[in-house]
């Protein structure tokens, strides 16, 4: 069995990814007087336009990178709340800078995500709780967290949290427990996990998931 502290080791990848390719960095930094974040995060938006045959990639737009708590609030206070994005098929993604919110990304390809389905009306509040926990490093799983997504759909809204290593059960169960705590989920909440490999196979993000009840 893996030493559970392995995941806490500094994986000081610096400015290079595993292939040694320099990542595109915004060089965004916390300004004097601001509170720096552990990681820079990029905020993305995607919307599927009805009727048009466009790829996920084409619909995905990076809006801005934030490096401090204050820069995050500047952004957050000047974008629509998820619930006000209108009906339809929209997503906000907040990912560590350098990780694209795509299954195929180097940081995601061995990973997966926890999924929480929300009834309509509570998405904005849950999303805020999730991203504050992520930005504040509340998950305590080393470098494992990749990013968070809120997906606005017709019948329900879906919150997900992506991590690097789907096979690492110590990490995924710690993430699940923290997720339940920061979202204040009732004990019988159904949690679903899906590996990105499975998503690539069935080309779907939220179908055929593994269901966990506790």
């Amino acid at each position: 069995m893996n030493n559970k502290f392995d995941m806490l080791k500094v994986e000081d990848s610096g400015d290079e990814d595993v292939n040694g390719q320099p990542k595109e960095k915004s060089k965004k930094v916390a300004l004097p007087g601001e509170h720096p974040l552990q990681f820079n995060y990029a905020f993305w938006f995607s919307r599927r336009s009805p009727g048009k045959q466009t790829s996920y990639d084409q619909n995905l737009k990076q809006i801005i990178v934030v490096a401090s708590v204050e820069q995050f609030w500047q952004l957050y206070s000047h974008v629509m709340r998820p619930s006000d994005l209108g009906t339809g098929h929209s997503d906000y993604h907040l990912f560590k800078e350098g990780i694209r919110p795509m299954w195929e990304d180097e940081a995601n390809k061995a990973g997966g995500k926890w999924i929480v389905r929300l009834r309509k009306g509570i998405a904005s509040r849950c999303w805020e709780n999730l991203i504050l926990a992520m930005l504040g490093e509340q998950f305590m799983v080393g470098e494992e967290i990749c990013g968070s997504v809120i997906s606005i759909r017709y019948q329900e809204d879906i919150l997900s949290l992506w991590n690097r290593t789907a096979s690492d059960q110590v990490t995924t169960s710690r993430i699940r427990d923290t997720l339940k705590r920061v979202l204040n989920l009732p004990p019988n909440t159904i949690m679903e996990y899906k590996t990105h490999t499975d998503s690539l196979k069935d080309n779907s993000s939220y179908r055929n998931t593994d269901v966990f009840m506790r």
Binding site: N3, P36, I63, Q71, L75, H78, R117, L118, R119
Partner: protein, 108 residues
């Protein structure tokens, strides 16, 4: 049982020149939180209450520089004037309304 390897907790000295450099709350030590020295090294940890408090800072009032304009996302929907002449009201995230309200209960 798996074998657990040990490593010394890394320490760091920070010199303060003035009492004003002391952190304001008890969960922090100079240079970071009490819990910042973890086996992986120093991490910057903020709890929810602290992050929400930062929202009221004057540094957060203006929108980020170079924010792209996406109608319905970073700026109001393209205003279609209705028959009565009123433009639809834009709903942007409102400033902190988080005055210790009880956490909601969720029916899922």
């Amino acid at each position: 049982m798996s074998k657990t390897s040990c490593q010394a907790i890394p320490t760091r000295r920070i010199v303060l020149n003035d009492a004003s450099q002391l952190p304001a709350d008890y969960s922090s030590t100079p240079g970071g939180t009490l819990f910042s020295t973890t086996p992986g090294g120093t991490r910057i940890i903020y709890d929810r209450a602290f992050l929400l408090e930062c929202r009221n800072s004057p540094l957060t009032r203006s929108p980020p520089p170079n924010m792209p304009k996406i109608p319905g996302v970073t700026c109001p929907q393209a205003m279609k004037t209705k028959e009565n002449g009123h433009a639809p009201e834009a709903k942007v995230a409102k400033p902190a309304e988080h005055v210790d309200e009880p956490q909601f209960h969720m029916d899922i």
